[in-house]
């Protein structure tokens, strides 16, 4: 169950967004690593991350977002979830930039999920991802959910120096509009 106060981000078309979450679940089930530590940046109330907790391969989830109003919603979701799954999750109320710099969070995850706003990844996050071998020996998979295609193209140019695009697909979340949501998986080169 997800909870939304008026001051947190909510996908405008949750019905369609559920298909993206399903696709991510399926991709993680194919990951060879038996116990995955997952980090989600720009995580909002945990719309993606909370739906990965019941996967057998999920060992831990850290979800982060700078909007302080997200945390109570995230924790409310955990409170109504099966305890065994809820105890895998933790929320950190920090920006993506702070997470990768001050909290060195890339060091401790196998899977990184990013769902940035339309402007794309922050420069600091991009920089950290292009120096990922120095930052993390564990990180294997980057899941990028993009609502800003222009920004995705820019970010891709930097990411490709270190990451190989494994798969990408488009989802029309706003039918009738000139908009596309892109789901992409990257693996380390």
């Amino acid at each position: 169950m997800l909870y939304f106060a008026p001051n947190v981000f909510r996908q405008a078309n949750l019905d369609a967004f559920a298909h993206i979450i399903s696709a991510i679940r399926q991709r993680l089930e194919q990951q060879k690593q038996p116990k995955l530590d997952i980090l989600e940046l720009y995580g909002g109330v945990g719309t993606i991350g909370l739906h990965l907790l019941d996967l057998p391969s999920t060992r831990s989830l850290i979800c982060s977002d700078e909007n302080p109003y997200n945390r109570p919603c995230f924790e409310k979701s955990l409170s109504v979830m099966e305890h065994a799954f809820a105890q895998r999750a933790k929320y950190m109320p920090y920006s993506a930039s702070d997470m990768v710099t001050q909290h060195n969070s890339l060091q401790n995850c196998h899977v990184l999920i990013v769902d940035p706003p339309r402007k794309g990844l922050d420069d600091v996050v991009l920089e950290a991802l292009t120096r990922v071998n120095e930052n993390s020996k564990k990180l294997q998979l980057l899941v990028y959910v993009s609502c800003g295609f222009d920004a995705f193209q820019r970010d891709y140019q930097k990411l490709k120096t270190k990451w190989k695009l494994e798969h990408a697909e488009g989802h029309v979340l706003f039918p009738g509009s000139n908009a596309i949501e892109t789901l992409a998986y990257f693996t380390l080169l």
Binding site: L14, L165, V172, F174, I180
Partner: protein, 369 residues
């Protein structure tokens, strides 16, 4: 009592001049610099359009199309979808880039933030009744690249229905616009920074269709006690026809007085720099609007049967100029969000479909339709 420090500050401010927009609009409090900058912005915009070879008529014609309906016939044919396909297959080396569109093509939008503005009544409309106000409250989307409210080609009302919006959003928009009109609520004016109701934000609880409504209010936070909040939620006593008539007359009189008071306060604001001079009027308007909306939401009236609030919030955002943000996210004031009625959060259960997409690289799945 006015803060002496703020008075000192205001005395040091640049002298403001009064600019009258028209006979119907209240005088604005723009400094000479703001007037000059506004003129420069208008001139720049005009030049940009001329350079692009766009006439005003062409711009208006293209703006008349609701951008969320442009590619309804075949959403996957939208230019950005085609550009993405080219990018991934030609530049990224993917063999295939599939595009999926699930669910309904209309009524899918369950989140919306819409501006509340005032519009002058058309001369062709029936103006025989002098009791009708010259301005109407309008709620809708801005036309692309502008802060002009558009009207739906299919519906010329001040609150057009948008096909992409969930039916509950269209219903709440209509009801709030009418409520603002009836209760004499001042819609926000971007040029003058006056008026209290600047936006409404809506979230639909998909299971019930009930709406979490937030009024974005152009003022500093008011200190409502718990008792005051509860009294706003109490249904008003049932009145006879005569009592209703007297109440209506009293309300109209109050509204006129408040408008005069507001204009007087604006003048004082210019002269004295008082920070909170309009708060009393704003608070009275908010109380009236909230009470009325809650009454409509809980009434059995068939006219408002589609209007059911899940909850009601007020967000105070008094920022003006240099900010187009709907929510004042930079404020550190915990009172900037005020929960008035209903549960604090909307609960959403996602039904995860059996995975519709596949990442199997050997045999890419065919696109669905």
């Amino acid at each position: 009592m006015a803060n002496p420090r703020s008075s000192d500050r205001s005395n040091n401010r640049k002298r403001k001049i009064t600019v009258s927009q028209s006979d119907d609009e209240p005088a604005s409090s723009l400094s000479s610099t703001q007037v000059r900058n506004a003129r420069k912005r208008r001139s720049k915009q005009k030049k940009r359009l001329q350079d692009a070879g766009v006439t005003v008529n062409q711009r208006n014609a293209s703006n008349a199309v609701d951008p969320s309906t442009q590619f309804l016939k075949n959403p996957k044919a939208a230019p950005i979808c085609q550009a993405a396909k080219r990018f991934f297959t030609e530049q990224c080396g993917l063999e295939v880039f599939s595009i999926y569109q699930h669910g309904q093509k209309v009524g899918w939008r369950t989140v919306s933030k819409l501006p509340v503005r005032s519009t002058t009544r058309d001369k062709s409309e029936d103006n025989s009744s002098k009791s009708k106000p010259k301005h109407r409250v309008m709620i809708g989307m801005f036309q692309p690249q502008s802060h002009q409210l558009g009207s739906s080609p299919s519906n010329n009302s001040t609150t057009p229905d948008y096909p992409a919006h969930h039916a509950s959003i269209n219903s709440v928009t209509r009801t709030v616009a009418l409520a603002c009109q009836e209760m004499g609520i001042g819609a926000y004016n971007e040029r003058t920074g006056t008026g209290f109701c600047r936006y409404i934000a809506m979230n639909v609880e998909r299971a019930t269709g009930h709406v979490q409504l937030t009024l974005i209010w152009n003022d500093a936070p008011y200190n409502f006690t718990q008792q005051e909040l509860e009294s706003l939620q109490k249904p008003p006593p049932k009145l006879s026809a005569n009592q209703k008539k007297r109440k209506r007359q009293k309300l109209q009189k109050q509204q006129q007085q408040q408008q005069q008071q507001q204009q007087q306060q604006q003048r004082e604001h210019l002269q004295d720099g008082k920070e909170d001079s309009s708060s009393l009027v704003g608070r009275q308007q908010l109380e009236r609007l909230v009470s009325h909306l809650l009454k409509l939401s809980t009434s059995d009236d068939t006219i408002t049967k589609d209007f059911t609030l899940h909850s009601l919030w007020v967000h105070y955002n008094a920022s003006w100029k240099h900010s187009n943000a709907i929510f004042d996210i930079h404020t550190t004031d915990p009172k900037s969000w005020c929960h008035i009625y209903g549960p604090e959060t909307i609960a959403e259960q996602l039904t995860l479909p059996p995975c519709p997409t596949s990442i199997k690289k050997a045999k890419p799945r065919e696109e669905n339709n």
